[in-house]
Symmetry: C2
Subunit: 324 residues, 2 copies
């Protein structure tokens, strides 16, 4: 069994030695730039860990694992255009540094490169790998569409929100884990279990992100706190607050979310205060714990000695208890 650090080093080396460049440079420079912005490389790590846990050869999983990271970056590249986001990991986004057309086309090319890597696997496994990856890619697009739609919808429910983050975030976590299982030639049952584990873990992971956006510490989070509040994003915290608020606190909440004249810092402070009064922090933590517990109960059903699950459980725990 590999340790987390060892796998991270393998992934890091693979990305450092990978050559994303080709002609024309106007197409590939943005791709190289995007891939060099870094990130935690969480998805390939999950693929290798899962492959290792199921007794597979991680060398066979490395190219497909990298493919998932390329896919993730492709979605970020296009999302940044759609969100008109100026910064990504503290640096200019591709569409800002180049232009929208470059970002569209470099993104498309990155998507092709993701397919090239994901399908660099044993031919016999290709049908399964493709079915998983195609399904995941489509769902991630659907999730992003829901996310955009919700911005203009006044009737978003908590169930709608969970559906959205399941599609936009959780299924790629599931896919990363299941891909490792497929390459390790795990049984269908095991592959499905690790997928279900990933889905619950992914939901907890995204909810943790929403939680940190409000209750995190700026130094550790690495991003400005309260961005979701400033942009009126309909996160679980927002939706739950409106659900729990009654009478005067509901009025106060509505007023503060819709009033454009309130200074940003004051708005964040006030809304955070209401969230605390409504115990949105503990309610959110409880839901994170619930999804995480569900994930744990699922991985328990996989018939593998507990010590082999340790590395994966460790990273899973970090994903939902992280501060950044």
């Amino acid at each position: 069994m590999y340790k987390k650090k060892e796998l991270q080093d393998i992934i890091s080396t693979a990305f450092h030695t990978a050559d994303f460049h080709s002609a024309p440079s106007s197409l590939y420079d943005p791709i190289k730039y995007m891939m060099e912005l870094g990130g935690k490389r969480l998805r390939p790590l999950l693929t290798l860990m899962s492959c290792d846990m199921f007794g597979g050869n991680i060398n066979e999983a490395l190219a497909p694992a990298m493919g998932l990271e390329l896919f993730h970056n492709f979605t970020l590249l296009h999302d940044d255009i759609m969100d008109q986001a100026p910064l990504r990991r503290g640096k200019e986004t591709v569409f800002k540094k180049w232009n929208t057309n470059s970002a569209i086309l470099s993104g498309d090319t990155l998507f092709v490169m993701a397919y090239e890597l994901v399908t660099k696997t044993t031919p016999a496994l290709l049908p399964q790998v493709l079915e998983l990856f195609n399904d995941t890619a489509r769902k991630v697009c659907e999730g992003q569409q829901y996310d955009m739609d919700y911005e203009y919808r006044g009737d978003v429910s908590i169930a709608d929100y969970i559906l959205m983050i399941r599609l936009k975030t959780a299924v790629l976590i599931s896919c990363s884990l299941k891909l490792g299982a497929i390459i390790a030639k795990a049984s269908d049952r095991e592959a499905d279990l690790i997928y279900a584990f990933g889905e619950n873990l992914g939901l907890a992971f995204q909810l943790q992100d929403d939680y940190l956006d409000v209750f995190g510490e700026e130094d550790k989070f690495g991003k400005e706190i309260g961005n979701d509040i400033v942009t009126n994003k309909k996160t679980y915290l927002y939706l739950k607050a409106f659900e729990r608020a009654g009478g005067s606190s509901l009025e106060f909440l509505s007023k503060h979310f819709n009033e454009k004249s309130i200074p940003v810092k004051e708005k964040v402070k006030t809304i955070t205060g209401i969230y605390r009064e409504l115990q949105i922090d503990s309610v959110t933590r409880a839901l994170i714990d619930e999804y995480f517990a569900k994930a744990l109960s699922i991985i328990e059903q996989i018939n593998i000695p507990a010590d082999k699950k340790q590395t994966l459980l460790e990273i899973a725990g970090q994903m939902v208890n992280r501060e950044s």
Copy 2:
């Protein structure tokens, strides 16, 4: 052997009964709209013809053939954003009817759906099919990038232009034909020959498009004549004219291409006149004939009775002698 009309009916029925709809409708409505705009469905037709010619079962080629049409439409959907094109087949483009974000994301989803269909084939053929399709998809993106780059470059050569149309247009024609050959389990040599045939045919096909844009008849062409002249597009005709023009005609050409105050109709008429004087019409036709002759000499090397090649040769002839 199937007749052209029979294959067209099979493809048409397949598209009419295909269900491109799913949730959320905000994501799938633009896809449905795009696919219902129609078009000649030339690429799937080539796949089925090639499959049939090599003795394959066209039913096995139908889904992948449709996948190529979806891919083609995905590229058009994103190209229309990049070109800010208001119309496609006489109707509003997706980004105009919806918005840029919808067009980006629906395009991405259509790309996934293309992969789903292209890879709906005998598992044993998947590695070959994927290698071909990934390579093609990447090249088409590169071609589009060169096309955008050339707009701002003053040093585009005829060789640069041929490279661009080879990538942007010809390789998808090649891919369509080779895909049919792979599914028919043709030999590698045969698959490579039909690919090379397609590349030369594809170049002739694109040059015919450029030719019609200037020398076609508006009623038959279905689009306004002279659009490439109006937009100063560096087509083969444009580049050849600058190459052949000398002295006063070169000056005249430069002036008319760069002078913004000349009314559009007058510009088209004047430039077309210079093109005729410089015999750009016959020079272009000669190049089209050259590529077509090359294509024919390649398909002759395929060891199949001439009568079995007839349907494909017929459509190939129409592609380079078409008026629309």
